[in-house]
């Protein structure tokens, strides 16, 4: 049981970190009693290491997801500008083709859409029930923009379709890819004139 807990805790750390220090930390944890404060310490530091090693795209995505969750939604234009900016930054920082910038924007878009997709899955499973009267006909919300999704939900006059929740963030991906790629192209142009 202790071995299993220690192995699970170590999985919180990023793989490159585990390769370097994992064996030492594992031995240390197995050699002493596994108290709650030690588990908390390893947990906290594991998440910190994970955050430190995260790609910028993931951090931007998480930040925007949190913004959307605390109900401070961005309008579409600034959101697209962020995707463009991330594409530009990726191109200037890492070079390469502009498709890499597009992939970065897609990654951000997926992360931002995760809560919306989870909501859709929960609605579908009947775990989550919206406050909007179900008697009204199901409709497709304008949820293709996850960042302004919650705002759209508040002003909705009909019950949202679970499938709409579930797939709406995916509908955003081509647009995200396009803006990220455009940012990447712009970055390549800047690099060429520098």
């Amino acid at each position: 049981m202790k071995h299993w807990i220690v192995r699970t805790l170590l999985k919180l750390y990023p793989a490159p970190w585990r390769r370097e220090y994992g064996a030492e930390l594992e031995d240390m944890l197995l050699a002493r009693p596994l108290m709650v404060h030690i588990v908390g310490d390893v947990l906290r530091n594991g998440l910190w290491q994970r955050l430190r090693s995260a790609e910028p795209a993931m951090l931007v995505g998480l930040g925007m997801m949190l913004m959307a969750l605390v109900k401070h939604p961005l309008d579409t234009s600034p959101y697209l500008l962020v995707l463009f900016g991330c594409g530009l930054w990726t191109s200037l920082r890492h070079g390469g083709d502009s498709f890499k910038s597009g992939r970065t924007a897609i990654k951000i878009s997926i992360i931002v859409g995760i809560p919306v997709m989870i909501s859709g899955a929960l609605l579908w499973a009947g775990v989550l029930v919206t406050a909007i009267p179900v008697a009204k006909q199901l409709c497709w919300l304008r949820v293709s923009e996850p960042i302004s999704f919650w705002q759209g939900l508040k002003s909705a006059t009909c019950a949202p379709a679970p499938l709409g929740f579930l797939i709406s963030p995916l509908l955003m991906l081509p647009q995200a890819w396009l803006w990220g790629t455009l940012g990447g192209r712009f970055g390549r142009w800047i690099a060429s004139i520098r």
């Binding site: 970190w17 370097e20 220090y21 064996a23 030492e24 930390l25 594992e26 031995d27 240390m28 944890l29 050699a31 002493r32 404060h37 030690i38 908390g40 310490d41 390893v42 947990l43 906290r44 530091n45 594991g46 910190w48 290491q49």
Partner: protein, 104 residues
Amino acid sequence: MARKSKTGPASDPELLILSSLASGPKHGYAIMGDVEAFAGVILGPGTLYTAITRLVEKKLIAPESGSGRQRPYKLTSEGAAGLTEQLNAMRRIAAAGLRRLRPA
């Protein structure tokens, strides 16, 4: 997490590890015991290895090739210089503070 109620620079995990390694190379478990003995601070295993990671990245300490899974770490010349500088600064501050606390 550095446990016990000590706060301030005296409980900074990086400084404690550097001070521990000043007496010679040690592996993680030995550092933890040494820090507890000389500073009275119990470093959590996660905190210890997070601080070791940072110190290795800053090139203030370096792993030695050890036997088994536990590698000893040693202080580098940059680490020794940095530690000396920090401890001297702390000594100056401590001396000034104590002088001012003394009744005139």
